[in-house]
Amino acid sequence: MAAVERSEAESGLNGTKLAIALAVAIVALGAPYLLYPVFLMKLLCFALFACAFNLLIGYVGLLSFGHAAFFGGAAYVTAHAAKVWGWPPELAILAGTAAAAALGLVMGFLAIRRQGIYFAMITLALSQMVFFVALQAPFTGGEDGIQSVPQDRMFGLLDLSDTLTFYYVVLAIFGLGFFIIWRIVHSPFGQILKAIRENEPRAISLGYRVDAYKLTAFVMSAALTGLAGGTKALVFQLASLTDIQWQMSGEVILMTLLGGIGTLVGPLVGAGLVTTLENYLAESALPVTVVIGAIFVVVVLLFRRGIVGEVAHWLRRRG
């Protein structure tokens, strides 16, 4: 997508940034004493999902409409590994991540062959195919999904059935994922991705194998999405069709768009807002889908930079 402005938060660490990061860390560490840990864990999983998705749309400029395949696919694999094969949590999550990466390689390979609109439609169609496979395959449990996924000890030490412990584990997983994304964005690889997004013909003429870069970014995005999905399966002890439906792909797009495409923290904000909103709406009479759709329409028409993007833009104009 064209003309994405990078938030000032990207241009390296300075005093204010460090202070904010520290404040966020303190909040994150203390949060489970104020809010329900399970809700926070859900938030963190979706935040990681959105950040991983943002890697693709914000920094490579590719809109995937099929990331639910990675999220839900990893959830199923992790759930299966933990429940049926009895793998410990760290290996189960790893299995989910690897499965998502593999799926990302196949889907990405096919989708990269087209640009823009076609790319989006292809990813949508391919993930729908994955959905139908999940619907019919024996090991996914069809409409019921995989339930009662066990929560064992991670690394033999951390007892995940203790909610507070699990929260800190999920926080650490999120931190790891976020750190990886941050490093990717600020690496030479990330710079090339940016060059490709801004002027692909030029990048090609400079000799870069653009397709290879795009595919690598796609697989990274898929893998990190899988990390989020696998973790979520263990948190909720459930892997179901909801995780792998096209509506889920739409949700992560909304989270990223609302928070700010191409900003590092935007997806976090977006995920937080959407997850909180859905939680709140679940109790009320208002249909969730309608509200989500309305927000989509409003954001696309009036608010394309997203919250963090608008703030950054405003700061830049003042400074």
Binding site: G116, T289, G293, L301
Partner: protein, 295 residues
Amino acid sequence: MIPLLGIPTQVLFGQLLLGLINGSFYALLSLGLAVIFGLLNVINFAHGAQYMLGAFAAWMLLNVLGIGYWPALVLAPVAVAITGIILEKLFLSRLYRLDPLYGLLLTFGVTLILEGLFRSLYGTSGQPYSPPAMLTGAVNLGFMVLPIYRGWVVLASVVICFATWFVIEKTPLGATLRAATENPTLVQAFGINVPRMITLTYAFGVGLAGLAGVLAAPVYQVSPLMGSNLIIVVFAVVVIGGMGSILGAIVTGFALGIFEGLTKVFYPPASNIVVFVIMALVLLVRPAGLFGRER
């Protein structure tokens, strides 16, 4: 009747007919999508929801106003087309100078709103809608029994698709549309009201979806979700056919429906995904689509 490869002829032709019917809807919907995309450069994700609207409009006309199928065939698409005009003038037109992906996202949001709304009003189960008296019953063709309404659906679809193709390719109105698709600025400089043409083209494409919805009402049940799973398959159809040609969209739609029907006969578990598999294969061999021109 001689079974083919162990499949009784009745079953084979029955499934082929079902495939042809699915193909009719694939063709009608991908035609609408192609027409809209050609001029507006927008992927109308809401196409499936507008198809659903058409079916519901017919259902409401019957159950609330007592208006039957034949008037509904005209009224419902018009009603849906009017919603399309409102959508285009108020929202879609603001996005034309932007990346076309925003148009996709906007219409995606509209889909969520429409489906969510109808789902909260009518739940997820389908409402029945009977075919008109004139088209009920079946006729025995010897190698199969043909339900008359289903034969009508295929016939109507072929006629509508052909008529649309004819207007676009062979009439001055179609020439104006083709020219505006190619170079809207120059067409406008000649004194043709291109913004109005754009609105009406969108309305036409949307109306076509609504019309498909009316045709579908007696075949599939009228349910809020009838559009969304269909539209994703139609996307795959459109990727396979390529959006460069109207004829390509039509032919691909019918062909894939038949293919799907055949798969259902010989290997049922794959019937849900065979279109996607074909899409994957086409992408490997001919990324621009079978009839496509690189855009």
